[in-house]
Homo-oligomer: 306 residues x 2
DNA sequence: CTGTTAGCGCATTCAT
DNA sequence: ATGAATGCGCTAACAG
């Protein structure tokens, strides 16, 4: 009997097994923030890598939940992750990037209330849920402060439209703690065409206003920013300094000049989220309801001391 | 009764439903090629986007299958996608990038023989299975030819180690059809440190041997190549021309100079793969066993006419 | 310690 | 038409 099972490489039918044990060994992953963007930013990708590593080690799998854009004839648009939870397809859920979506937050709250295992990557939303947070506002303020210490006073900050809600806090803190600094925050819409708007911004704020430093929000923006500077013959860091956010360790090192960065350990955060979730599923008592990650400044070649 | 279901937002339990109907509405996605690389190349990401679009429109979900690196005490390392198929968790499977993994090909053949719905993205492996192919060798030869038409005779080609098996065909075709061209193919190991080896290659083959053009294999390499050239003070395209592969439409446009590219429609390919798979699952008769995609040359600013 | 059975929740079939 | 019974394949509980 045993050897027969071995020989035929028997694997139990997961429908039957799941029906019995009431578990699917599947974790849903839902990152909204605009269409298709799950696969677009280095941040999300690093999160996914971290999640994947941890989950697969514990024999869970990831189900990527996109927007529900199917031809659902009958039902009103219920988000897919909710649908899947009700269908018992998922043992847990990892969410990220709900910041700009108040409607979605309500749904999250509902799920959390119902005790379904959820971990949210981002700023704490619900007093009961678990979350992992990199402290977006704090590290942005820290970046401004770093540039200030290098002697910069007029600083351009590029922020994605979906993060506009964090801006007031950032500007307020900068104003309060660094009155000598003038911060120019610019909201970039996450459209296909990044280069042209960025060119105009650089012309206006570097050449025009006279900013001496720029803070882009991620690797994608940094690359385009570097290209734009090259095209406009604005040498980095002689004419303008760059301090970028780095989600993928070492990414800034590949470029020329090597980009100084504020390292946000997205991969570790993803892993952490997955681990927390699994412990929650197992019913363990979890002390920390919120894990906050610190970013690290990595000095390289793209900042000039004034 | 009807209204009760509506009110409680009833969703059928998928274990029971699956047990009955023998379908899971889940599609497995497996891209090997080294650890974590699923999320590393623009090519894979574009494929995933295309797959995701099509699948979610048809109410399927993607299960990302990583390597089986769990603590499997008991069983010998059976690949996870095989395990999942036997467990009836998947209705179909999309594979890509098995090129360097002969052992895995055998498994694929076995699955195909057993009539399990599979689509392979890459060069045809099994006479019975379905595949989507961008014709890697052909478009590389085409790129060489394009540079030849611009007057280049000594051309450096950067190829990932995992694609080494395609090299003989490429060099043979170039030798036969373009005897006046000398091709210098370099295999890059997909390690963390891309910049240093690339710097040495550029020094040796551009400054040393005197190559006038480089063909990098994708967006990642192109960015680093540009940085290396900037650092070594090798102007593009004045001193060296670049013709890159572009998987994400418009990616080359964001850089400076705008990179001329051979566009491989990875997104459409992913969509195609998903569609083919779904039709296969539905039991439709499919005429085309193999869909081959043509790449398109997009002239931009990074090639100089000699 | 091995063998039998009940029931997980649904869809399908058969009987009313 | 509506309702009750069956079985999908497994596991856990129970009986021998």
């Amino acid at each position: 009997m045993q050897e027969a099972m071995e020989f035929y490489q028997y694997e139990p039918n997961q429908f039957a097994r799941g029906l019995m044990k009431q578990e699917s060994k599947m974790i849903g992953i839902y990152f909204p923030e605009g269409r298709g963007s799950l696969f677009d930013s280095a941040y999300n990708l690093e999160l996914l890598k971290g999640i994947e590593e941890t989950l697969s080690y514990q024999n869970y799998s990831m189900v990527l939940l996109g927007e529900n854009r199917g031809f659902s004839l009958r039902k009103q648009q219920i988000p897919r992750y909710l649908e899947y939870i009700k269908q018992k397809r998922l043992d847990g859920l990892i969410l990220s990037g709900l910041s700009g979506q108040p409607a979605r937050k309500e749904v999250l709250q509902q799920i959390v209330e119902e005790q379904f295992p959820v971990v949210y990557i981002g700023k704490r939303i619900h007093e009961k849920g678990f979350n992992i947070y990199a402290q977006f506002e704090q590290y942005h303020v820290k970046m401004v402060d770093t540039l200030r210490q290098y002697g910069h006073r007029k600083i351009l900050m590029l922020i994605h439209g979906s993060h506009s809600n964090y801006l007031p806090e950032i500007t307020a803190q900068v104003k309060e703690r660094m009155p000598e600094v003038t911060l120019y925050p610019i909201l970039l819409d996450a459209g296909e065409e990044l280069r042209e708007p960025l060119t105009r911004v650089v012309e206006e704020y570097i050449s025009g206003v006279g900013c001496t430093a720029v803070i882009p929000e991620g690797a994608e923006d940094t690359q385009v920013l570097l290209s734009v500077c090259a095209e406009l013959q604005i040498p980095v860091p002689e004419r303008v300094s760059i301090l970028s956010v780095e989600h993928q360790r070492g990414a800034g090192q590949l470029l020329h000049p090597k980009i100084s960065a504020c390292y946000v350990p997205a991969r570790a955060m993803g892993g952490s989220a997955a681990e927390l979730l699994i412990r929650h599923i197992r019913g363990e008592v979890i002390e920390a309801k919120s894990i906050e990650y610190e970013s690290v400044f990595i000095p390289r070649d793209s900042i000039r001391r004034l």
